[in-house]
Every structure is written in structure tokens, then in C-alpha cells.
Symmetry: C2
Subunit: 354 residues, 2 copies
Amino acid sequence: MKPTLQAVADAVGVSRSTVSNAYSRPDQLSAALRERILDAARQLGYPGPNPTARSLRRGFVGSIGVLFTSQLSYAFTDPFAVRFLTGVSAAAERHGTSMLLVPLPPAQTDARRAVENAAVDGFCVYCVADEEWALDVIRARGLPYVSTAPRDDAGADERYVGIDERAAARGIAAHVAGLGHRRVALLADAVLPDAPAGPLTLDGVHEAWHPTTRGRLTGFADAFGEVGVDWADLTVVNALGNSRQAAAAAVAGLFDGPAPPTAVLAGSDVLALGVLDALAQRPGGANPPVSVTGFDDIPEAAAAGLTTVRQPAEDKGRIAAELLLDPPADAAAGHVLLPTALVVRASTGPVPRS
Amino acid sequence: MKPTLQAVADAVGVSRSTVSNAYSRPDQLSAALRERILDAARQLGYPGPNPTARSLRRGFVGSIGVLFTSQLSYAFTDPFAVRFLTGVSAAAERHGTSMLLVPLPPAQTDARRAVENAAVDGFCVYCVADEEWALDVIRARGLPYVSTAPRDDAGADERYVGIDERAAARGIAAHVAGLGHRRVALLADAVLPDAPAGPLTLDGVHEAWHPTTRGRLTGFADAFGEVGVDWADLTVVNALGNSRQAAAAAVAGLFDGPAPPTAVLAGSDVLALGVLDALAQRPGGANPPVSVTGFDDIPEAAAAGLTTVRQPAEDKGRIAAELLLDPPADAAAGHVLLPTALVVRASTGPVPRS
DNA sequence: TTGAAAGCGTTACCAG
DNA sequence: CTGGTAACGCTTTCAA
């Protein structure tokens, strides 16, 4: 039998309250008595107040949940997600708060359960795909949260940290357009819930499933619209997953037609690297060269010479956690837009003469 | 006021037990009644049973702790640690268990508190440095745990997953010795608790602080002993942290003497990369060339052409979590030694003619 | 199939 | 500074 606080109280001959105070409110008793109690506890092997009981009584847990709306084990393989976690952990560390990583089972009903059962004081929601259901559960629980996806219907009181997806996307697309590219493919993960890999027909950007994808595609379209390339002239390519393999599979055959795209704008660096993989695999290599851009500026992007949009990944995580842990008094301060930068490297160049 | 289970019971006109059963034991009531209860709950905005209260009553939490005996935010920047986490998360995911990452405050007293307060059913202890105190707390709490460090005094019932540090180290050192190297430096992080960066005098391997370091240094010494190089002839170099910067700082000046080492065996890839950084920075570059080896085989090692020891990082995490989540009936199965492989790349070569 | 009663181990309030 | 008392919100026998 593990000893309880009661056992220590009995051993010392004081009440439970006093033992409790010895742990949680040292100023409420004499140092001598406190020592006597702590000694007795050590003697008995009492490991301190039971965390669960304490949380129940106090009404808070001392840990924040980090929710990935994708497989948790996948999150660790995504460099951007890892840097986000680094930021969250830095803030959590400063606060003495733990981080609970909640894995989501495939079935959505079970996933709801997972979120309902998480013993946390709030959530950082790292948005990968559709997370409305998760936010619903969190709101129903009355827990605070901070999300990283732009939500179209975000309430004013909803805390959020992100970037101006549309402006950032427009910036990199303008760079590509400025190089003369007009036959362009836009590559994103899970554009539509159940679409197959490869080129897709999308009536408009609004059809895209995920807000982040919508934002980026809109920015891409903005820039090309300005040089006279309509939405209908752009090729949207769907990838089944945010991985190099998925990207390579998605663009297989894309360059085989009579008028192949001369540039591919990807929604993430990982996807862009996959496109480079696919191009490198082609017989004859990437000839004529195809310009490729990414998004995020993960470490691998530099090594691969990828032109991309840099966003401050760690800051995103750190600020998300800080917004959760010290809510700003001013509601407007709950919406944070981080700066981005266009990073031009070797993966983009002028359109080759045909 | 957030509604409680009681409120739902009142609304439907049944007892709390029945509502509880509706959530946790659907087979204990009619489907119709269950629906009625769940509907009422939805109506009232009842988010399901409070996780903390449920844990208190049930006696378990449904989450495992992952304990890094270093800064948590550092763990995410260590590629090996991230891959370990990937493995843990894969196992946790399969089990429907959450992972609690516990940050340790600098002061050890507070760190004990952090471990005492973690609401978890067990711990995966990722060993970085001295973790005895943490294991003490965990044992006092009566929680199961799995560690990744070889412990000299490990009880037979102690679960552990790791590699044969000594044999692996001997293997890579034998490779270096076979290339003719005899003036060799051994680089490790935190060899002694408070030693400064740089060369160190160590009477013997037994003085090294951390078991992992001891194991690796012993293996290195074994291999060189076999070719007639005594312990006293080896230079042990201390790094203040497992980072490229720390390694570079530690070996600064190491190659300036009259008889500099021709090879550096590092205790991790990250340290080895730091040595390569330092060599590249030298006026004249690394000339004559110095052989460098690492440990772990992180992704960056391949790109850098680093000769190293490969160990299965994800398997380590996955198996640690599995050992915790499904304890093997057979105690012997609780000790897992993973295979390692010597990976020879360009960073090692024959001793240059002097 | 349902309900009453008894805790799970702690902390907070308030009187002494 | 100390100790009683009353929750915190739920699950689990066990009897009806």
C-alpha cells in the first residue's frame, strides 16, 4: 500500500491540512514542524501529494496539451513541427508547465474522446488539416486554446498565432512570375478531402479544404493574376501527405505533356524537396530546368538550395504557448502575425528558352 | 458553471451511475436510454467525464511521462532525441496513450517536484546525464519506468533498452586504430560534473560521470589498449554540452601542440560535427587531415561523411514505450540490447605521413 | 437494467 | 499556527 498524506499526518500526529500545508504552503507552519513532517514522509516513503488528487481539488492540472491534427508520430518527422515544438517547450519550461502530446486515433469518434480525456489546462492546436471538430471539443470543455491556422470564422476572442499566408505566398509567386514563368503548377497536401494524387480541377480557391492551403493558393493566384495568368491556367496538384514521397508521386507525369509547367510552387519545403527528387529522377535529369519553390525554410531547404518563404517556426510555438500561459489582457494582442521573408536560392531561375 | 455529470443525471432523471455508464460502459444500459443521456449531455454542453476526476477514481491516468534529464527545449534540437521521441510516439499512438513531456527546472529540488507532480502511469527516462535522483522519485511513487542508460547497479527487475556501448565503441575505435592512429583524443560531453571545456586528466575511465560515457570511453580504451596505446596516452577532452559549438570550443587549441592528435573519437555525432567545424575553421583547413568519428548516425552524419556507429534511434523509443505499456511477463525480456553497426565514411583515413 | 452509498487523495475555508 | 469539515467529479460495488 502506498502511503497517503493521511498516513503521514497520523505518523506525525497532526492533521491532514497541516501536512498538506507543509508541501503546498510552507508559510503556513513553523519551519520546525515542516521539517518534522517532511522527515516522516521520507521515512514512510510518501512521495508527496498525489498529482491527480491535487489537480482535482485545485481545479487545474499544470500542463498544456499540444494537439496535432495529424498522426503524432508524423509530427516528429516534420522539421517544421519539431521546431514549433521546440518553441512550445521553451515557453513551457519557463513556466514550469508540462506538455501533453495527445495522439489522435484514426476514427474521428475516438479522436474526440482523446481530446475530451486529455488532462490539461489548455491547448496549443497545431493545425494540419481540418480541426474544427477538435476546437469544438475544446470549447465545450471550456478550455482556453491557441491555434496556428487562420480560421475564416474566428471569433474576436480567439487566440491565434500565424503568418499572413496570402501575402507571403503572393511574394514568392511574384518572384517566380517575375522570372517569366507562366505555365505553373501549385502543389499542396490534401487540397480536397478525398482527392487522388496528381492534378486536380478546382473551380476556385475557396474549394480548398484547409485554411492554410486556401491562403497560400490565394496568394499564388494573386501574383499570377497580376501578370495575366488566370486561375484556370494554373494547375493545382494534390499530394497525399506532406512528405517527399507523396510530392514525388503527385508530380509523376506532370512534366511529360506537350506544354509542361516551367515552375512548381509547393505549399511546404518538404513537398518542394519531393518535387526536386522527382525531377532528379527523370531520365535526362531536370532538363529543361524547372523552377521549384517551397514554404517554411526548414534546415534542409538551405542545403538543397530551395527558394522558399521563411517563417519563424520556433517563435510560432513559443508565442502560441505564451499566449496560452499568460493571456494578454488586450484581446487584440491575442492575434499575432509573425513576419516572413522571401529566401531566394538556386531552385528558381528564368524560364528556359523553348 | 460548467455542467457536471450530476447535472446531466438530473436533467434526464436518472442517477449519476447511469450517466457514468452511458460513457464508460455502454453495455450496462439500453441503447435508447444511452442515447437519451448523450443527447441531454449535448444539450447541456456537458463535455464528458472530467479527466482528472476519472483518473483519481480509476487509479490510472492514461498517459506516460517522457523524462529528459536535460533541458526539454534542448531535447528537440537533438536529432537523436527527436528520433527517440518519434519511436515513443508511435508506440503511444498504437496504445491510445498520451505522452507527457516534463520540463526540469535548473534547481534539483524543483526538478524533483516536477517529477513528483507529473500525472502519469509510468516513465520513459531518456538518459542524458545523472538521473539517479529522478529514478529515486519514480520508484518512490511506485511507478514503472524504462530507462535508456546502462546502470551499473540496475536491479534485475529494472527495464532497460539500449546498446552494448562498450562493444560498439570498441568497434569504431578498432577501425581508427587499424588505420594506424596512435595519438588520439576522446571527446565527450560532461565527462566530470564541473570540469571546464578542453583536455582533462582522468585517472581512469571509472571516474567518468555518466554511465554512457563510461561505456564508450571504456570501449575506446579497449581497442587502443590492444594496439599498445595505454589509457595515459589517450587525451580525454571535455565538452560543455552536446552541441557543435561546445565541441568546437572544447577542441580549440587541441591541434596546436607539437604532437597533435591525428584522430578524435567523439561520443556523439553532434560533437563530431563540431570537431569538423573547428577543423574547417583552422587556418590552412584540416591539413594534415584529422580523422573524426561520431556516434549515433544522425541524418546530418551522412551528409557530412562522418564515420560513426549507427544505432536504431526510433526502435529505442518504440521499444522503451512498449516495455512500459505491455510489460513482458518474463523479466529477462525487460532488458533489450539493440544492434549497432559501424558506418565507415570519409571522415576517417590513414594517418598522414609526418 | 437501474440506483444508493462509499470512497479515490487532496486542498480550502474558517474557526480556534 | 493548527485542525475540522466539506467539497472536487467521478466510478464501482452491491443490492434492488
